[in-house]
Subunit: 360 residues, 3 copies
């Protein structure tokens, strides 16, 4: 009766062009909104306050983009990465439609690349996943690649096929929600008057706070996303691995880093793109995460009141503060950037500076 003891796909089960409708849609609730705050420390302005989203001109209060991302990602795990060795990277992530309480998300993936590792024991699977709401509107699409074990090392490998992926989502592919002119006045709610024009490419922000991750924090968050990857939950299995402990789900590290990065980026309205990202090293309960951000690019948008910042946020553990973080250089070894666990490249919406002719 092993037929009902499903154990997920292995590398040799995937084929280019394969379409997967991931099981179990999920309706988002106000409980998810509050739990996301409780588990990550998010202070995301529009996700925290209905008055802020009204001020920004939105009819309904959106949910935090990384809550949506993690929830959508979780749906892909049983089919894509239940027994994955490592989640290697992201590309071309686009937040297409705001998600609200009451929306039900389902997720589909297409296999867009496969490449067996030279050791013959595993391979890299590239997927394009898309989350859709109950009206079948795509709300988020992203590419990830993940190293997946082979069930049988002797199974024949498909011809290697690696998709070509953009280094970043282009300005013309960014879907900007319908913010109104009031969005320029949100400084009254954040107490901070740094807007799009106040950030410069190359600028670095050392976020002042740090967060120690507890076992129950990360496992509750990961369960909230209905992500079932065993490495996050099965301490007995993990005791036999080199680190001996459960791994913190990388998406939880992303959320914690984004929450810490509130300080210095207070007027950010929401996520537009996930350009790329790498979980450079594993994170475990008890680790204290700090992070720093550099502004990669200031992106103008065809929107009267809002433009975009491309940001790179690097999170690290085992350091005495964000000022100690070294940003990993392309191609350099891990020793050049000690403690780094996450290197994330994303694009956010932020209001333009208030017009000085307007009275506040």
């Amino acid at each position: 009766m092993a037929g009902k003891s499903r154990t997920g796909n292995f590398f040799e089960d995937f084929r280019i062009g394969m379409l997967i409708a991931h099981p179990t849609p999920r309706t988002l609730t106000d409980g998810d909104r509050s739990l996301y705050i409780a588990l990550t420390g998010s202070r995301d302005l529009l996700g925290s306050a209905r008055t802020a989203s009204e001020q920004a001109g939105l009819e309904r209060q959106p949910l935090d983009g990384f809550l949506v991302f993690n929830l959508a990602f979780g749906k892909t795990v049983p089919d894509i990465s239940l027994n994955a060795v490592a989640n290697l990277g992201y590309a071309d992530g686009r937040f297409l439609t705001p998600v609200h309480v009451g929306d039900t998300l389902r997720v589909e993936s297409e296999i867009i690349g496969l490449r067996e590792n030279s050791n013959g024991k595993s391979g890299v699977v590239y997927t394009r996943s898309t989350a859709l709401n109950q009206h079948d509107q795509p709300v988020l699409t992203w590419v990830r690649w993940v190293m997946v074990r082979k069930r049988d090392p002797k199974a024949p490998a498909p011809a290697a096929e690696v998709p070509s992926l953009p280094a970043a989502v282009g300005a013309d592919a960014l879907a900007v929600p319908g913010y109104g002119p009031g969005v320029r006045k949100i400084a009254a709610m954040t107490g901070v008057s740094d807007f799009w024009e106040d950030y410069e490419a190359g600028e670095r922000i050392d976020h002042p706070s740090a967060m120690t991750i507890n076992d129950s924090d990360h496992s509750s968050a990961t369960r909230l996303y209905q992500n079932t990857a065993k490495v996050h939950f099965d301490a007995r299995m993990m005791a036999a691995t080199p680190t001996g402990r459960r791994l913190v789900y990388g998406g939880h590290v992303i959320s914690v880093a984004r929450a810490l990065a509130y300080d210095g980026l207070e007027n950010v309205l929401g996520l537009l793109a996930l350009n790329g990202g790498s979980h450079v090293a594993p994170t475990h309960a008890g680790d204290t995460v700090c992070c720093a951000t550099t502004v990669v690019e200031r992106i103008d948008l065809p929107h009267a009141d809002v433009a975009a910042l491309r940001l790179r946020t690097v999170a690290a553990t085992g350091l005495d503060g964000a000022q100690q973080i070294v940003f990993p250089r392309e191609g350099a070894g891990k020793d050049d950037a000690p403690g780094v666990v996450l290197d994330l490249d994303y694009t956010v919406a932020i209001p333009r500076k208030p017009k000085t002719t307007l009275s506040p």
Copy 2:
């Protein structure tokens, strides 16, 4: 002033026929729904997705049956089991009416059996408890028996009276929610095509995942249910007991086992009955729970699209996977089934196979 320092009932305080209206009703929220997912890992289809409950023909999205059970159970603790030694068993549990967000539950119990232990220090109390919603409709009724200490070992014992209880809830006593014909198409949402006809009596399913329980997980869940039993919360008191640690509330173990048992039982719609259950051994934080299920019986129902499965799910700790679980035999010692902590007998609703003449 000890009069206001209430310490619960002891064995000699109970009388056959005594009726107890348990204090503090509780209104269920969307926060409870999300917390249940975050704390247990539930992927219960109808509890997760409004689109799924609509597909199943229900007007409103029901809450997970074991969330309702645990919440109702928690209400009985201050009066029945605040100082209990052990929760011994359940019988004749029937889920009578679906529970929705916004419903307010209150719980009443009748004492239906009493039997002093031969040591004179404690006794077994049998209760029939019923949870009612704000319209005074019963939503859940169940019998449990629990070993309760005597305040005064010299207090006279009542004549022993043990209720006769059914081994399982009969098919005619199962209350099936008003599922519509669309329920047969939910495989589109679960990705699994195993329906009522695809399960056989005697079939065993080894659920592939395992879950390590953290202290904050189980105590948060138990607080969510407003269950105040000291053994779950007071580490200082528990340090003086043989195991030296807080006990995980048995209902949390039930919820975790049910969540793990999603894999292999994906199309289950909800709980119809709790036939019986035994917390075979205590569970502590740090324990890793795995579980296996056998199909006890396939039960036909007078419903065009839905029938029932009687299941037995056994959860264990300290094992290397569900395949190592030995199902306890009636009357056998604990050594025959190492690591087993829970032996649960329950009945679920599941759709009949889609008619092949229907196009999907």
Copy 3:
């Protein structure tokens, strides 16, 4: 680029009369209600059950007063106490308007007192903070004083100015929600018939339960309030302090103590005032909290069905139960009251005794 790495105010940054509009309003959800129960064990009657608030004559179900307090307090942290040494006391806290799910709170503070410490390294800042809802109605106002480090010990100190504060909120300043006559019948929901007339000044209640605090409990609660004080979250930084561990946010201890104090105060309807409070000693994860309450005063109110009790709840750790708690005496050393971590003085609303001429 340190300009965007904001690190909060230091003692020398404050001026008497300074007004601060704290950033990031927060909309309260049903998720917050459920999380508050899950993290603290609250059984607050009106916060738990919509039927109870209806019985009490309220149109909408209020949120627990200490949830509102902690959330409002959290908003003040980035500006007032991000780098505080210690939160020293509270006074003149008044709950002015019930808060409901969907309300958005923002918080303003005025600096009302400053006094440099003799060591020149820190000073005490007195603030009057007020939380307002989306209709700009004040819902809660309170004074607190907190010891804040100086950035530069050589910075000149302002002239000392210490506000005069009431020992307790006077009866005429208590804002009583619009309870109706049905409130006298809530004993049917709590199972307890102790009303206003049944409590006497000087009476002591030893609350029977105790609660061990887990790291994830207190840090999740503190994140829920968006309180960013580093001492609660940064275990790496705290490892270098004398206790070597993260501090539990004092407001979480207040909530746990209030939750434990449900037993013996079951018919309490809600908070009217926070007269004073002192975090006598730090609390850490792993500590087991118990508490006892004395009735300070029975306060009559110009309300037909509801009056007030002024209570003093003392919480302690490291004791074998509430009966061991010694209430700290004014001016006495800490050794006189071993284990005490919290000494809280607050005023609650409670129904008057049901009229015996009414049939139930």
